[in-house]
Structures are given as structure tokens and as C-alpha cells.
Amino acid sequence: MLRWIRGVAWGAIALLGFLTLAVSAGWLVTDGPLSERGVATEPASLPIGGPFSLTDHRGRAVTERDFAGRPAAVFFGFTHCPDVCPTTLGDMTALIEALGPEAERIHWLFVSVDWERDTPDALAGYLEAFDPRIVGLSGTEAQVAQAARSFRVYYRRVPTEGGGYTMDHSASVFLLDAAGRFAGTLDSKESREVALEKVRMLASR
């Protein structure tokens, strides 16, 4: 009987010890000194940005690793887009010019969601009108789908009258820090000053 009570007591102590250890370990990595500061509040906690395998407008095969080590501004669009894509690329061009040498610290990427029409050559011609530091990326249907998944980008091919088609697509410019983590977006409705401040901060990351 006594032995039984002693067994239960030791069991209780062991359980208590385990709980104490587990709770303090949990505290250490969440709120304690071993935690990653601000994980829950920073946009970096959003799973935007990730693996892709595409071809740049000079015909070079690239992946996200080719753009690692420097922050990036990434915009998804397509070249048969007369309005919003040139507006965004024009804004990007203006930001690059306003940043000056700092602009070199950022990768400026234009990813096409139009896998059928946007060859590297088509992208090269389209980008001629904008800052030469903007890199065009295109790929096969599957490659575009993977890139879009990595950035949580919506796109859809919409048939138009006469057998053509247009593309619906997410219009944000995604900002990634040098480690490839999501660091915010540029919105077409915000002022140039706000956008410039955002990319200036990005360049220093």
C-alpha cells in the first residue's frame, strides 16, 4: 500500500517536472529570449515569396536563388496589357530613378502570367520602354503556376471576342527582403512619396 502511494507521488512529481519544463521551454522559444522577435506582427510571417523556376528576358534560366541576398520588388502582369502594367512599370521606373544608386540594391522583377504569348523576346521588347534594371521573367504554364503559387498571386485567362484572350491578375507589387521574406506591398493608389519611402527602407534591409 505504502509502495503504491510512493509510486503515485513520484509519478506526480515526474509529471509536474515535465510540465514545468515544457511550459518554460515553450516560453523560451515563443515569448522568451529564444523567440524570433515580432514574428506574429511582421508581414514576414506571411508565406508570400518562394521557389520559382523561370526564364529572364535575356533567355537565361533563373530561380529564386539567383535573386537571393538582395531585396526584391516583384510585379505580376503580361505584355498584352496596355493600361495597368505600363502604369506599374512606369511607377517602378520613376522609383528606380528617384532612388538613384540605391536602386541597384533591389531586384526589380516583372513576372508574366501569359505563358503562351510572353516569350523572353516579347518581354525584352516590352521592357525596352522602361528602366533597364527591370528584369522580365516568363515560363511555361506549369512554371508560371508555380511562381504564382509562391506569391499567392491570382491569375486567370479570359477569352475575348474574336478568339483572343486577356488575363486577370493580382496587381500588387510584392516586396521581399534580402532573405526572401515578404516585406510588404506597393499599392497603385498610394502616393509616390509613400512608395519611395517603402522601397528606400527595403533597400536598407
Partner: protein, 158 residues
């Protein structure tokens, strides 16, 4: 409300210009002012046409088409933003301009899509464009080429 304010502001900006506009006057009374496009490379598949149309007549008119020697064809499109997604759709019925009112074609909204530019469009040059209205008939204007991706014509409000 905000859209109406914007429209008013735009109207105020183009009013003096429309009053002095020499080009684009049709017997039916539709004038086009601030007619502009953006620079594109020689192989660009599309370009855009923007302008302010004013109906001086007493009946509604409608822009139903356009053509330019600088592009294979011209379509009328609307750009819409739904939940962060850009959608562009043709406007098969064209653009209605009620009597005494203006219709503004600009970035991020209704625009002309110049399909298949036949050559590069360089900043500063002028490109002929013929607008076709249901009542006013043909109106000849010139697109002023602004910088690639410009958000507004460089002489807006002059």
C-alpha cells in the same frame, strides 16, 4: 462620391483646355481634349489611348470606334480593380457621353487599346487618331506621346 469629386476635379482641369481646343471639333458637338498615349517599344503588343470627350450637343452620343495608322486596330476597353485583381474587358457598346457631359478615358479606367502598334511610339511625337461617334461621325485628333507608364499628360491643367 469620391469618384464624382474626382470627375469634377478632372473636369475643372480640362475645362480651360477644352474651351481652347481647336482640334477634334465635330458638327455634332463632341470635342476631344488631352488626347495622349504612352511611349512603347517597337515590339510592344499594345498601347493605350487616353482623352477627355465632351458632348456639347443636346442629345447623347457614343464613341463606338477608332483607328490610327500607328496600330493594327483600336478597341475600347475598361480596366477594373476587384479585390486587388486587375480585370480588363472590352466595351462592346462603346462609351456613352450624355449631352453636356464629359467622359474621361484615363489610366486605370476606360481606355482605348491600340492593338499591335505598327512601330515604336517615342515620347514627344504626335500620332493621328480618328474617333468614330454614333452621331458626330468621325473626329480627327492627335495623340501626344508621353513617357512610358506616365500617369497623366505632361501638360495637364495648362
Amino acid at each position: 462620391m469620391r469618384r464624382n469629386l474626382l470627375r469634377l476635379a478632372l473636369l475643372a482641369a480640362v475645362m480651360p483646355l477644352a474651351a481652347h481646343a481647336h482640334d477634334g471639333h465635330a458638327p455634332g458637338g463632341v470635342t476631344a481634349s488631352q488626347v495622349w498615349t504612352r511611349a512603347v517599344g517597337a515590339t510592344a503588343p499594345t498601347a493605350a489611348g487616353y482623352m477627355t470627350l465632351r458632348n456639347h450637343g443636346t442629345v447623347a452620343d457614343r464613341l463606338v470606334g477608332a483607328e490610327t495608322p500607328a496600330a493594327r486596330s483600336v478597341e475600347i476597353h475598361e480596366q477594373r480593380m476587384d479585390d486587388g485583381v486587375m480585370r480588363m474587358r472590352p466595351l462592346p457598346d462603346g462609351i456613352l457621353i450624355p449631352p453636356g457631359e464629359t467622359a474621361t478615358l484615363g489610366p486605370g479606367g476606360v481606355h482605348l487599346m491600340l492593338v499591335g502598334p505598327t512601330r515604336a511610339l517615342a515620347r514627344g511625337e504626335r500620332v493621328p487618331l480618328t474617333l468614330r461617334f454614333e452621331r458626330a461621325g468621325e473626329v480627327r485628333v492627335e495623340l501626344t506621346v508621353e513617357a512610358a507608364g506616365a500617369r497623366q499628360p505632361s501638360h495637364a491643367g495648362h
